[in-house]
Amino acid sequence: MTPSSLLAESAPTTAVPVPPVWGIVLTLLLVAVTAYVALRQRLGLARDLGIAVVRAAAQLVAVGFALRFLFEHTGLPGSLGWVAAMVVLAGRTAGGRAKPLPGAVRVATAAVGVAAALTVGLLVGAGVIEATPRVVVPIGGMVVSAAMTGATLTLARVRDEVTASRATVEARLALGLPSAAAFAPHLRLALRSAIAPSIDQTKVVGLITLPGAMTGLIIAGVSPVVAIRYQIIVMYMFLGAGTIAALVAGRLAGRALFDDAHRLLWLDPAR
């Protein structure tokens, strides 16, 4: 099945107005104009732009097919497996950005996993969202994304803190303080700057941007007054998942930085 036939096939099955295939071509023309300008201005972005356009389309088509397969054939276990795969991918991505922090990928994967399990588990357990693939997969994706951002920012800040403040941490260790206490002020700084952007984003939601879930519901014909209910859940979910991931990542990274003798490990830049 070709991408265009997939889109053409999907449209009649829903009451939501779906853009025609030529709409995609039209938006692609917009990108082509941008690429032309980038080329003329010698911004050095035309190649990246082209790759991004092709890659995004290919990824979305593949994901579209995969999700349809999940929704129709694998049920809830398959959907949870999909979310678990997202957790692993998110952990690798967040951990990769925090090198050379020891055990960064393991720490990030655990943080994203705990945040996703708690958030999705709570929402499903309390009956806020349905335990069906069509709901669990997109909600799970949003939660994993928020958790990944929280873990990424935290681990990067932890690494920067420990690099910049090694002498101060060791001064506390030298006073006989345990590693957790010696690193606590630095962990607090890292967590504060990792969580602050999510709080700011939550403060201005609706004022600066109309968030995705709300936009989708409004396009689908739902009253904005009703759509905000879903959006509030999504925003709180984002804030909760990001904060949980940040706290777990910070705690685990704080432990991974020290050995059993409360010694601060040397970060090996070659790792």
Binding site: A167, A171, G176, D268, A270
Partner: protein
């Protein structure tokens, strides 16, 4: 007199990328009680590594570091560090006031005790309520010295404590170090300044290329070193 510390053929290892480097390659030395021992040697010779082994901020890969005749690894590490204080090369004021800093390792420290500690480090009572991050480099280093003393250590390790200080602060720190040793504290000081070693130290250990080449009373080592490499270094550095 029994040594406070004894290092017996100590090797250390540090991973650097896929390679391993050996800051120390078989150091054997002793530190006598209630004396000032200076560790001297060229940059990168392993002086700081020796110092950090004594309160287990570094670990020996081979060999044994003993404290009062027992391996340092047999002590509870937090207890060991409270008995063996360390003052780094760069002042490290913590957030908060000078008083907050002095209480970092001893939360129950009373104000009058804090004043005595400050005086010992050459700082007046007026410093107690001051924000620590507004002190000058010399004041901050002296506050850090008082902070280390607040825990009540029996050994004080000093890693080039005056390298970033003005001459007045240097003389205050040196006087304090001498007074501490005279009061019975064991002091180990890393320095590359042989004149400072002569001024404050009783004993000296020459560390070169990861080995302790020569050790003994200051005058004897500085004036009449037996090891040719140590003699060469001391002649060049003085």
């Amino acid at each position: 007199m029994a040594a406070v510390f004894a290092l017996d053929d100590v090797w250390t290892i540090r991973r650097s990328g896929d390679d391993h480097v050996h800051p120390l390659v078989g150091v054997t030395a002793t530190i006598a009680p209630a004396r000032v021992t200076a560790l001297v040697g060229p940059s990168g010779s392993g002086k700081t590594t020796v110092l950090r082994l004594l309160n287990r901020l570094e670990e020996a890969h081979e060999g044994v570091v003993s404290f009062h005749g027992r391996p340092v690894t047999s002590y509870d590490v937090l207890e060991l560090r409270r008995r063996v204080g360390l003052l780094g090369q760069v002042p490290t004021p913590f957030a908060g006031t000078v008083h907050d800093n002095l209480r970092a390792g001893r939360p129950d420290l009373a104000a009058d005790e804090a004043v005595v500690l400050l005086a010992r480090a050459g700082l007046g009572v007026e410093f107690l309520p001051r924000p620590a991050d507004q002190l000058s480099g010399g004041e901050a280093q002296r506050m850090c010295l008082a902070r280390s003393l607040a825990v009540g250590p029996e050994v004080l390790l000093l890693d080039e404590p005056t390298s970033a200080l003005d001459p007045f602060a240097v003389s205050v720190v040196e006087r304090t170090v001498r007074a501490l040793a005279d009061d019975g504290l064991t002091v180990v000081i890393v320095t590359h300044d042989l004149r400072q070693a002569r001024r404050v130290a009783d004993d000296i250990v020459v560390v070169h290329s990861g080995r302790a080449l020569e050790s003994g009373p200051v005058a004897q080592v500085l004036d009449d070193a037996a090891d040719p490499v140590a003699r060469e270094f001391l002649r060049g550095a003085s």
